[in-house]
Structure formats: C-alpha cells, structure tokens
Amino acid sequence: MRPDDRKYTKAHEWVLLDGDVALFGITDFAVEELCNGNEGDLVYCDLPEEGRTLEAGETFGEIESVKAVADLNAPIGGVVLETNEAIEEHLEILSTDPFKKGWMVKIKPNNKNLDGLLTAGEYEAYVAEKAH
C-alpha cells in the first residue's frame, strides 16, 4: 500500500500537504513505467524555477529515461518555494524512495482543497486496473 497521508493523480503524481506548504512527487508506478525498475535508465529530471506560479494541472517539468520522456504536472496550484536539487544529480533517489527523499517540488499552495484527487486506495485500484 502506498502512503495514505497524501493524494494522487491519474498521471501518477502525488501531493502531500504539510502545514502551509505542499510537496509534489511522482509515484513508484511512474518511475517503473519510465525505467522498468532499472534506475540507470533514468537520465534527466527538469524541475521549475523557484518563484514560478503553477496552475493545477500545469506542466512544471520533465523526466526522461533512456527511451521515454514524461511531463510532470502540478496536482494543485501554488508558488514554487524550493525544488529538490539532489534529484538532478542522483536520479536513483526516485527509484529507491519516491515518496520521501524523492520529493520534487515544495510549493505554497493557493488552495488546500484536494477533493478532486485520488486517495491512496483509489490510486491502488486505478494502477491495478492499468496493470492488466
């Protein structure tokens, strides 16, 4: 079971509210789709500039593996406070710990309503369906 302290999107991002800030990342399923469990297959991760305002659903970056490029989309809107620079040099973090050390962007959300997003249980069911 994936962490139930946060919400998920069908594009395999997660968002975790923590007081006045929120963290975005991508799920283990997204990483698996990109690199099939081979962390060496990830080659690049592009994260946004600090201070940038993101709308919900807006593409804020890209992640690239040997054979594919995927957009990174904001689960909710807000202003970028910080990005996880460790990822850019150590992409393997995304394979080993996508839900904690693998956070990508810290934002100041313009709204903390996560109602439209999937719970961990709903996301599990969605992924299970996709895997068939």
Binding site: Y44, E62, E64
Partner: protein, 370 residues
Amino acid sequence: MDTAALQETPLHDVHAALGARMIDFGGWHMPVQYGPILDEVRTVRNACGLFDLGHMGRFHITGPDAIKLVDKVATNFCAKIPVGAIRYALFCLENGNPIDDVLLYREEQDVFIVVNAGNLERDLAHLQKHAEGMDCEVIDQSRELDMLALQGQHSEAILQRLVEDCDLSELKYYRYTWGTLCGIPNVRISRTGYTGEDGFEVYIPPSSSKVVWENLLVQGADLGLKPIGLGARDTLRLEAGMALYGHEIDDNHNPIEAGLSFGIRFAEEKGDWLGREALLAVKADPKKQLIGITTDGKRVPRQGHKLFRGDTEVGYVVSGSVSPTIETNIGTAYVTLGNEEVGTELELDINGKRQACVVAPQPFYSRTRK
C-alpha cells in the same frame, strides 16, 4: 494499455515468462527490454544477443516475372544481385519518398523480401497492385515463417553449435544459405542484422520458434548470450548509422537526402522504376542532408527537437538515444545544406531550452573502423 487488439509472435509467452517489459510496436505486443536497455546494448557489442523479429514482414515473390516486379518497385537493381546475395532497397512512390525500406534476398527466379512490421499491409497492397499483368505472385509468408536474429561477435560460434550440414564461417556478410537448425531442415540463414555487429537472421516454422529460441539461449550461455529487446535494438542501429522507417525516412523524407544512395541504382539497364525521376531530381539538387549529432548535455536528442545555428533554425532531429558505446548522447537530424560539415556547432532546442551539440561523423560506431 489495451493489448487485446495487438498481434503476438510465437514467442510472446516466452518474453512474458522472462519478465520482459512489453510495448505496442507497429501493432505488435513486443518486448522493449528484459533488463536495463543500456546493459542490453553492451551485451550485443561485447558478447551476443538474441532478438525476436517475428513481427517483421516476410514476402515471397514467385514466378517468371518476380525479378521484373522487384525492379519496378524497389530502388536496387534486383536482376544484378547475385543468386544467394542480399541487398538493401526501398519501395518508393512516384514522388521519390519511400513507403518502406527492405532487404531483398535474390533467388534463381524468385525474390524473398523482409519488410517492416508497421508497413506490411501497405507494402503488400503496393506489390500486388504493381504485379497486375505480370506473371508472378506475391505471397505473404509472415505467418508461416518466423524470424530470429543472433547478433554479436560470438554469433557464428553459437549458431554453428546448432547448425548441421553447413559451415557458417564460409557464409559472407549479406549472403544467405540453407542449413539444418535444431534438426529443422532447409532453414534460411542469412549473415545480416541491424546492430552493426556480425550476426545472423534465421527463418523458421513458427511451431519451432520456442525450441530454437531456448536451444540458442542454452548453447550460448557460456559465451554471454542474452535475449535483447527492441529498445536496445533501436540504440544499436542508431549507433551503427542505420536508418529506421518513421525516423530517418518516411512519406516525407527521401532516401537520397537520408544518405541511402548505396541502395539506389539509376542504371539505364534497370529500366524505369517508381520514384526514379523524382530521386534523380533530388540527387541533382538536394536541399538538406541527414547528419549525426553528439551532445555532452544531459538531455537526449528526440525526434522533433529543432536545431539552431546561432539564431537561425537549420534543421530538426529524427532519432536520438543515449549511446553506451561511445558514452555520449547521440542523434540523427536533417539540416539545410551548409550546416552538415563534421564539427559544426549547433544547438538543440528542447522545449525552449538550448543545449549545445556538434555534427559528428557517421556512423557513430563501426566494428571494423578502429
């Protein structure tokens, strides 16, 4: 992914059991990788790899006019190919642009042709249309004849362990022969491939595919033989400077500007053929050229990225990959003439961000060039 509509090769279940990641490739459910793609590339460069090519199309053109038909629709000069030899060619339309690129296996009277999976239906209709009024028949053998490739420096040693009655060391590059493979008589064996390494392609009944696949993996284990997916195959062919339909060539990209003139024969004796006039015009006055690029930047060139020289847009990328063999990111691109010289410094535009790249000699990798 809705995989129900996809076609499966006779080895589909074998790939699944090996834990391969499967994708839709030209309407087929095919293994893109069994492990890390870059490791699979290295396996083929340093040892040997086994590929399921069941998705590719295989045609047999038979009858007194078989060679005449091929010389009408294909760019190479089929009548001049020695019996037992194989040549690269393209099927072009009148406008000179290809509907596919193919290998022609010349027989005494007939021609055996291997085509790309995604173009099979179009190729077949094209051949059948132009065969009207000719004394020959175009037979799609794709379902009654499966295809495997063994690629890498140990290919000959491994395959010979399973082949009776023919000495593979005597089979030259781009030639084929017939042998008994795993007890199956009359198997077509060609010294061909799409990786830049020495290797073979074999054509077997689908009922024998699993037996041959498994025997090869067992017999080749001590020499490092492993199954290789289509992901590594794409990187291998790109490193070796080989075109892929849908990238370097397609409905809008002619083979002259793609650097494929070695597969085109304008000789008068060949007679007129589809696309000849248009390609002669391109040859006389080309507008652009396919080049190789390397980049030290982190991003991998991808089809569709634009290329700039200073502020001027000069071209676009058609293929790209990480290259474990030359240890940099590589790509192929079309540039307007004047920008093709090796060493020319260009910039990739990747979603508005620039990354330096340089025109590199082709091919990126050659096993014979030191």
